[in-house]
């Protein structure tokens, strides 16, 4: 398929996700608790999009490779080594703002 409104359904049913390094894709996948391999396209990507993928890899949440090493990565991957991705905490932000406005 080319473009769907939401991949949520497909994500829910997947056992493994292989994706480009777009932030939305990475985070949506990790939040659903699916193992993720991020594929970097060196020619297409501009540096800032790689930042999040690299950091997620450093923290042990995703596997990381480029187009030419994908097959090798799939053959040797150990998905159990991936750490579960903790959700963000917007309540900390709310708390911070409340302090700024003296609402606490």
């Amino acid at each position: 398929f080319r473009f769907k409104d939401s991949l949520a359904e497909d994500l829910q049913r997947a056992d493994l996700v292989i994706s480009h390094a777009g932030a939305g894709s990475c985070l949506e996948t990790l939040e659903k608790g699916k193992p993720l391999i991020v594929v970097i396209n060196d020619k297409l990507m501009d540096n800032h999009q790689l930042e999040l993928a690299k950091q997620l890899h450093r923290d042990g949440y995703v596997l990381y490779c480029n187009c030419s090493t994908l097959v090798e990565t799939l053959q040797s991957m150990d998905l159990s080594a991936l750490k579960p991705f903790p959700p963000g905490q917007p309540e900390k932000f709310a708390s911070f703002l409340d302090k700024v406005f003296g609402l606490q």
Partner: protein, 169 residues
């Protein structure tokens, strides 16, 4: 736009009704955000019946990878366009997270503050995608915001005046 809208709605998710009415400002070219916002506000109204919000559109101040000289011109135009809107709403707080659209709105509020017409607190939250470098909006608004929030420790080190609360979206 897209990712920014999703992030900002998450930021709003835990705010109390003290932060009301909410005035959303979108780029005129943004098609998808309005639906997301209405959906968010609709759910919110289920819990807080007196919940209020408005939606305004302004011309997009900069296209992706637009040359910086023409960006200055289009951004100035956007600031002038935003001034009457910011003056009308006179917000106590402006919350933004990085799309080009937010720069003229914040700068117009900053200007109204300098002119002693309305003092608005500007809170900027850099996108979670920014781990090591700031977006262009971030680089500008670092100097104009009252609170500049980053979501990764590297940025806190590079921009010491920023606030680090960890991942908040």
């Amino acid at each position: 736009t897209g990712g920014h809208t999703t992030e900002i709605l998450r930021l709003l998710s835990c705010l109390s009704e003290s932060y009301s009415p909410r005035h959303y400002v979108l780029a005129d070219s943004d098609k998808m955000s309005e639906a997301k916002i209405r959906s968010f506000e609709q759910k919110r109204a289920e819990t807080y019946s007196k919940s209020q919000f408005t939606l305004d559109r302004i011309p997009r101040s900069r296209e992706v990878r637009q040359s910086w000289i023409s960006s200055v011109v289009t951004t100035l135009y956007s600031i002038l366009y935003s001034l009457p809107l910011t003056y009308k709403r006179k917000p106590d707080l402006i919350l933004c997270n990085g799309p080009g659209t937010c720069v003229p709105v914040c700068l117009s509020a900053f200007l109204l503050g300098l002119l002693r017409i309305k003092r608005t607190i500007i809170v900027y939250v850099e996108s979670i995608c920014r781990v090591e470098t700031l977006s262009l909006s971030g680089k500008i608004l670092y100097y104009f915001s009252d609170y500049f929030i980053v979501q990764w420790p590297d940025l806190k080190k590079k921009y010491p005046k920023s606030v680090y609360l960890g991942r908040i979206v």
